[in-house]
């Protein structure tokens, strides 16, 4: 029986974590490689790196981080943020990432999904979706709209329609981030997660809103997600990944408990 995945997300800028990780103690604060190693040893099922580097000339720094991570941890990890071309994908995958995540670039040019799946396989094509709750309309009948640029730009594109389109283009997985829930720590947007997960056949990762292990249980039960993305609740030492998994296990969710 397939386990539900717990996936910490690390934001990286210029090769450093953008937020310190409080409980690291003996490792350099802000080192993405050391932090990834710590989460690997704590039982993370996968790790997501999200690069928020502004300028493209700094991509080289990111690639060196990816190479170092690939030599250090032996679980899958993905890299997203600023991936806009086949060349971007190729360099990240060659550096050792298991998957790449495309977001804004796919909204602007959906063919990049098909091209990536054709060149590297669907299994490494994750499509990140940032979604805003809106009034239902003809253009957005589900009441969930795709936004880009960190939620600043509304695209008039229905999230459900887009999810089905990325699936048919060959995406292997959807990382579904609710802009409304993000940062609230009040739980994932379960209606949205369930809506998308019920209507595609590829795995959906719930993202945005995690504040407690119970929220993660909800994401993978009521929300039907295959995995739950977390950030601040583990970065600041409030919970450990092992502790979250123990909680999920006692709530009847199958999670990986031996590593």
């Amino acid at each position: 029986m397939l386990s539900k995945r717990v996936i910490p997300c690390l934001d990286v800028r210029d090769g450093k974590l953008t937020k310190g990780v409080k409980f690291l103690g003996n490792v350099e604060i802000g080192d993405p490689v050391e932090t990834a190693k710590l989460y690997y040893e704590e039982g993370a099922d996968e790790i997501v790196f999200y690069d928020i580097t502004a300028s493209s000339e700094d991509r080289g720094i990111l690639l060196r981080v990816v190479e170092k991570v690939a030599e250090t941890i032996f679980i899958p990890f993905s890299v997203g943020g600023g991936i806009a071309s086949l060349e971007d994908m190729r360099s990240v995958l060659l550096a050792g990432a298991e998957k790449v995540s495309v977001n804004s670039a796919a909204v602007k040019n959906p063919h990049i999904i098909a091209q990536g799946a054709e060149a590297f396989g669907s299994q490494c094509m994750v499509v990140g979706m940032d979604v805003l709750r809106v009034d239902k309309s003809q253009a957005v009948p589900s009441g969930y709209e795709i936004v880009i640029h960190g939620g600043r730009k509304r695209m008039g594109l229905d999230a459900l329609k887009w999810a089905q389109e990325v699936e048919s283009l060959g995406a292997g997985e959807i990382c579904l981030n609710s802009i409304d829930a993000d940062g609230t720590r009040e739980g994932y947007e379960l209606d949205l997660t369930g809506l998308i997960a019920r209507n595609v056949r590829i795995p959906v990762i719930a993202s945005g809103g995690a504040g407690s292990p119970e929220h993660m249980v909800q994401a993978v039960t009521a929300g039907r997600a295959s995995a739950a993305l977390i950030a601040s609740i583990v970065h600041y030492g409030e919970y450990t990944i092992a502790g979250i998994k123990e909680y999920m296990h006692h709530a009847g969710v199958k999670v990986r408990r031996t590593w």
Partner: protein, 212 residues
């Protein structure tokens, strides 16, 4: 030295990195001479069966591999490398290497999970392996360990060779083979410490064979 077979199918470097981490000497190669010299061969691969077979045939590595296996060279097939040693694949009805009798089948989209929901395809993530018989690769691997899978087709070999199964909508074969020639549907190089242990056990077996 362990040879990692290079047949231009997917990312071979993740296996290499895992072996490096475990201080297991290895080389990515398509040279028959190097393959022959190696203590054992890892046959990795992600991607489609059809293009992988074409690459093997045009480079004549299919014949090289069969001869090496006949000579008793230890081998470990991973993911696509596990499916392609069967007789055929339903992926575009491709004839494959036929080292073990069997077929690679696609997960039926009508299959359901424990909660009664349709399964996601690909089967992606961590799952358990139930060993049906003892396998030296799993020596000192915790019984409740899980392994990382990512695939839409699964191997269905002659039952005589099934060593372990995994449940995903149905029970499918995730470990098969015989002593010295094993096939794993999951990725040991991406399965954390239990996966690294399997790679170590393979290397240890190869070392023992070379001294025997």
């Amino acid at each position: 030295m362990i040879a990692i077979l290079n047949y231009r199918a997917g990312n071979l470097t993740s296996v290499k990195r895992a072996l490096d981490h475990e201080n297991i000497p290895s080389q990515i190669t398509d040279e028959p001479g190097v393959l022959k010299q190696a203590l054992g061969i890892i046959f990795p691969g992600v991607g489609a069966a059809g293009s992988a077979m074409r690459n093997l045939q045009t480079s004549r590595l299919d014949h090289v591999l069969k001869a090496l296996i006949a000579s008793g060279k230890p081998m470990l097939g991973i993911c696509l490398g596990c499916q392609i040693i069967l007789t055929e694949s339903m992926e575009n009805s491709t004839q494959t290497l036929d080292i073990f009798p069997g077929i690679s089948r696609r997960f039926d989209p009508d299959l359901r999970d424990e909660a009664g929901n349709p399964i996601n395809i690909p089967h992606m993530g961590w799952n358990s392996v139930f060993l049906h018989r003892e396998c030296v690769l799993f020596r000192n691997v915790p019984e409740n360990a899980e392994f990382y899978f990512v695939h839409s087709f699964y191997p269905d070999p002659d039952p005589a060779y099934v060593m372990g199964t995994t449940h995903y909508g149905l029970d499918f074969c995730s470990v098969f083979g015989r002593q010295g020639l094993w096939a794993l549907q999951f990725h040991p190089e991406k399965s954390g410490r239990p996966g690294l242990k399997i790679l170590n056990n393979f290397y240890r077996y190869c070392l023992e064979q070379s001294h025997a």
